[in-house]
């Protein structure tokens, strides 16, 4: 499979594919972080996560249209406003959903899976009714277009770099929030021992709602970032949901670091394979390997060995 490439070309291939993988990695991380928080910390399977992401994307689309119409001079900076709005809108809807639906289903993870799938159908059709079935594109501000030329062959697209920076910044933010803040301690306390956490005065219902909202909000940011590299349609979110769940499970559900490691390995594997075989087969092979490893090591890559 390396026939016909010179060594320097091969080096460039791996460098470029590595970068292409990083771009996929950013998408996975952005999607998976929110999911990992909700699944890992609350045991809730949110099948509508992709639709929350798309909500963020539509929010970005609307914001960009608003800026184009009313504030064209500030257009280059609209994205940051959009990202904030996407977070707020998705988090608010997330909190509402938690109140209306999810809180009745704790300890019934399979039922959350079915209920949120229903939610995802409703959200998709709502997008279709409101925005139309056609994909919408968001115009990139000028500074985000183009690429940085590293060598003759290796170019790094600026939007890809930007999305990656967002992904890493959010990953870091989540880490700090979960492991270095008082609020994070409360969340982890509730996860580990709910009655005890309640006994020491933690409002566990409030913590649940905030956690779910946070996960959804991060999905919103993911959606905002996603408009930079992909398209936004009513069912775009669904395309990622299975991949993302595999990322989370593969990483070990309760481990944020695991999620990131697994997002990295899956995206790199897929991206490297894509170069040497058709995209379809690369995807099949990646998924097969992940499922195979999960069958051999169901606890995922980074699971804690705990007394059960």
């Amino acid at each position: 499979m390396f026939d016909g490439y010179t060594t320097s070309e091969l080096l460039s291939i791996f460098a470029m594919q590595g970068f292409a993988g990083l771009s996929l990695f950013s998408v996975f991380v952005l999607m998976a972080l929110g999911l990992a928080i909700i699944f890992g910390q609350m045991g809730v399977i949110n099948m509508a996560h992709g639709e929350f992401m798309i909500l963020g994307a539509y929010t970005t689309y609307l914001t960009s249209n608003l800026f184009q119409s009313y504030l064209p001079s500030l257009f280059s900076g609209y994205f940051f406003v959009a990202m904030l709005l996407a977070f707020v809108v998705c988090a608010a809807l997330g909190a509402l959903i938690e109140w209306a639906m999810i809180r009745h289903l704790y300890r019934r993870p399979l039922d959350t899976l079915l209920a949120t799938w229903g939610l995802s159908l409703i959200m998709q059709q709502a997008y279709r009714s409101i925005f139309g079935a056609r994909e919408v594109g968001v115009e990139l501000p000028e500074w985000m277009m183009g690429a940085i030329q590293v060598t003759d062959l290796v170019e790094l697209p600026i939007n890809g770099l930007f999305v990656m920076i967002i992904a890493l910044a959010i990953a870091l933010g989540v880490y700090l929030l979960m492991y270095r803040s008082g609020w994070g301690r409360k969340v982890r306390a509730v996860v580990q021992n709910r009655p005890m956490a309640e006994a020491v005065g933690i409002n566990s219902a409030g913590v649940d709602r905030a956690t779910f909202a946070l996960g959804c909000g991060i999905a919103g940011i993911a959606g905002a970032a996603f408009t930079m590299i992909g398209s936004t349609g009513p069912s775009s979110g669904q395309a990622y949901i299975v991949d993302t769940f595999l990322v989370v499970v593969f990483g070990g559900a309760q481990s944020l670091i695991g999620t990131i490691v697994s997002a990295f390995s899956i995206s790199q594997a897929q991206s490297t394979m894509e170069f040497f075989m058709s995209g379809s087969m690369a995807k099949v092979l990646t998924l097969l390997v992940v499922v195979g490893i999960l069958m051999l090591r169901p606890e995922g890559l980074m699971a804690l060995k705990v007394r059960r």
Partner: protein, 250 residues
């Protein structure tokens, strides 16, 4: 039933160690059980008592060490194989099938038709009914056979679970705090029950209630931080200064 040479130990635990992410819950533990012995394990919270039972019955896998039971190495067997080897385990909180009647609970535990095909072909014949009724008699539930287990009192559920072990005719019975949460009369009856059981079983019990321990134990093993602190008769361990220090504080 396995026949054991009387000079042999029924259960020999040697160098047993298990660690959870570096924390050694059980650390190089060794002890031996004679056939027909009643052994009680006591020790402060977190001493690793329940973990020892988990290790013997296969719920937890040992990091190292061996558990030999009637000539078989248990550490390599799966839970149901350990059950078939003759080890029964009762959990701390009663775990019976609440939707099934007492009769059905015992029937499910009856040692026949445990394979998939066996369970498909299983029929309730006279032998089953007889075994169930006889065990029910032993565990004081003869008149409760048709009640769903969910309607039993806490103590009755504990007995039912013991009955579910008895009907398997195990050589070794392991009971985790069998009298926890019981009334005084229930406690007395349980002690009687255990006496009956030990006529033809070896029993390994975890218990806190020293009065009860004194009533039933042949020998006592005191555990502390995953290791054996002291072993011997109840009087012996009660007077062991190491034990006193652990229980009364430093």
């Amino acid at each position: 039933m396995n026949t054991v040479n009387s000079k042999d130990f029924l259960l020999a635990v040697e160098g047993l160690t298990v660690s959870f992410d570096g924390f050694k819950a059980v650390d190089d533990l060794s002890f031996y059980l004679d056939p027909r012995e009643i052994r009680v394990i006591i020790g402060p919270n977190g001493a690793g008592k329940t973990t020892v039972l988990d290790l013997i019955c296969g719920k937890t896998r040992a990091t190292s060490g061996s558990i030999r039971f009637a000539g078989k190495e248990l550490t390599r067997l799966k839970e149901h194989q350990i059950v078939h080897a003759g080890v029964g385990r009762k959990f701390q909180t009663p775990s019976v099938f609440e939707d099934l009647t007492v009769f059905e609970n015992l029937e499910v535990s009856y040692p026949r038709g445990h394979s998939v095909m066996g369970a498909l072909a299983f029929r309730r014949d006279a032998a089953v009914v007889e075994a169930v009724e006889s065990v029910a008699e032993t565990i004081f539930l003869k008149d409760q056979l048709d009640r769903p287990a969910a309607l039993l009192s806490h103590g009755q559920k504990q007995w039912l679970e013991i009955g579910m072990l008895l009907i398997q005719k195990p050589d070794l019975l392991m009971l985790d705090e069998p009298v926890a949460g019981m009334s005084v009369t229930e406690r007395k009856k349980t002690a009687e029950l255990l006496k009956v059981i030990t006529e033809n079983h070896t029993v390994l019990v975890i218990e806190h209630d020293m009065q009860f321990v004194g009533d039933i134990a042949d020998r006592v093993t005191v555990m502390h931080q995953g290791k054996v602190l002291s072993e011997g008769s109840i009087e012996h361990v009660k007077s062991d200064p190491k034990v006193i220090e652990v229980y009364l504080g430093h």
